[in-house]
Symmetry: none
Subunit: 229 residues, 2 copies
Amino acid sequence: MAATILLVEDEPGIQELVKFNLSQAGHAVMCADSAEQALMITRETLPDLMLLDWMLPGMSGIELARIFRTDVRMKQVPIIMLTARGDERDKVLGLETGADDYITKPFSPRELSARIKAVLRRRAPQMTEDRVEVRGLSLDPVSHRVIGNNVALELGPTEFRLLHFMMTHPERVYSRAQLLDHVWGDHVFVEERTVDVHIRRLRLALEVSGHEDLIETVRGAGYRLSAQS
Amino acid sequence: MAATILLVEDEPGIQELVKFNLSQAGHAVMCADSAEQALMITRETLPDLMLLDWMLPGMSGIELARIFRTDVRMKQVPIIMLTARGDERDKVLGLETGADDYITKPFSPRELSARIKAVLRRRAPQMTEDRVEVRGLSLDPVSHRVIGNNVALELGPTEFRLLHFMMTHPERVYSRAQLLDHVWGDHVFVEERTVDVHIRRLRLALEVSGHEDLIETVRGAGYRLSAQS
DNA sequence: TATCATATGACAAGAAAATGACAAGAAAAT
DNA sequence: ATTTTCTTGTCATTTTCTTGTCATATGATA
């Protein structure tokens, strides 16, 4: 659960403290002591989450949050507000600007990291939930099941993703590099030949219901899932 | 069928009336007289359902609904719109925004509670008092009993809730994070691995009647209750 | 045939899940 | 109020499953 966190806090003491705790928890921390600086930093690297103090010199935390929420690029960065105890009433009002959660100072490291975890956890992207079906082979992302001719097939996580991708993009050749990008993710360093191995594993799994010929090898180009019999 | 319901309604008379009826029906009611206040309340406790007046001072009901639907955390809270007498345009718009149902004022307490029940049944079946049965295992929320093949099973509170949730949402994989949100509650901070432990405890309890294989592990994805034999 | 691309089998490192044990806390009983 | 019994969340450990890579076999192509 290591994330890049942007901490916006003007008080040096608290900044240090929080920074220490977050680092301890394995996060990469970037610090800013003003909203303006936060914006600059954000231009460079988009954080996975922002911890934002309410009271800041210059532009207030609320204003910064509002800017974040209107900007396409930063719109989806979760924000946790840090508010001082006491004047919760006003501050809570500001939460409608789109903070995901808030913590009142003082807070324990434990609570902080728990909230961070909870907020991050909800931001997990979910893929399409539509069931795909090709030549008697059906894959259901919701139940995470693959059934070929009424036989349940067993495939590992990677094979599942691979099949899902190919079933949703049939009749089209994908090079190993493209498959790596789409199925593994584009910043993964993996040998291209590895794709071969997974294709084989996938075919092996599909053999149970006789769907192994669904995936065709296109020599010199890559692989293709063919819908025609 | 006790649910936590957030009522957003600016007119004091109606607010009181509805509040009374809902409490009568055994629900926990939270009231807000503006969209802004509703958002504040929601930060604290996520309701099981929101009753939302169309016309509100400040931010309108529609806008609030829209915010709910884009927020990861509130996305799944069912919304019932309260609209003044049947303007079809409103209805359509309301439903498009993601309301689950709408009621036109004036409405009878009877109708209100019927619709609430219907919506909950659809969106949050584990909130209802209906008995669930899967492959010879039956769970009755009313008597708080679980019986598998005529054998009474003993399970702790958390295991009971976990099983109830999974039985009302079969054939669907839930990640640990999702299970935490649905079974533990969304403001609870617990390690994801804890889910594993409770799944194990649940399986252990189900072993007595041989239903332990009902709960399947989907590696890399989460857990699933399988309805098929 | 010589060469290149793909298939296949094996394997070790690593990730994910299952399991057992434990202490703090809540609830119930006294 | 105190003791006893359960429940819960977390950790450390073990077990099981995945995955990327390599070496080698097989097959296509020129």
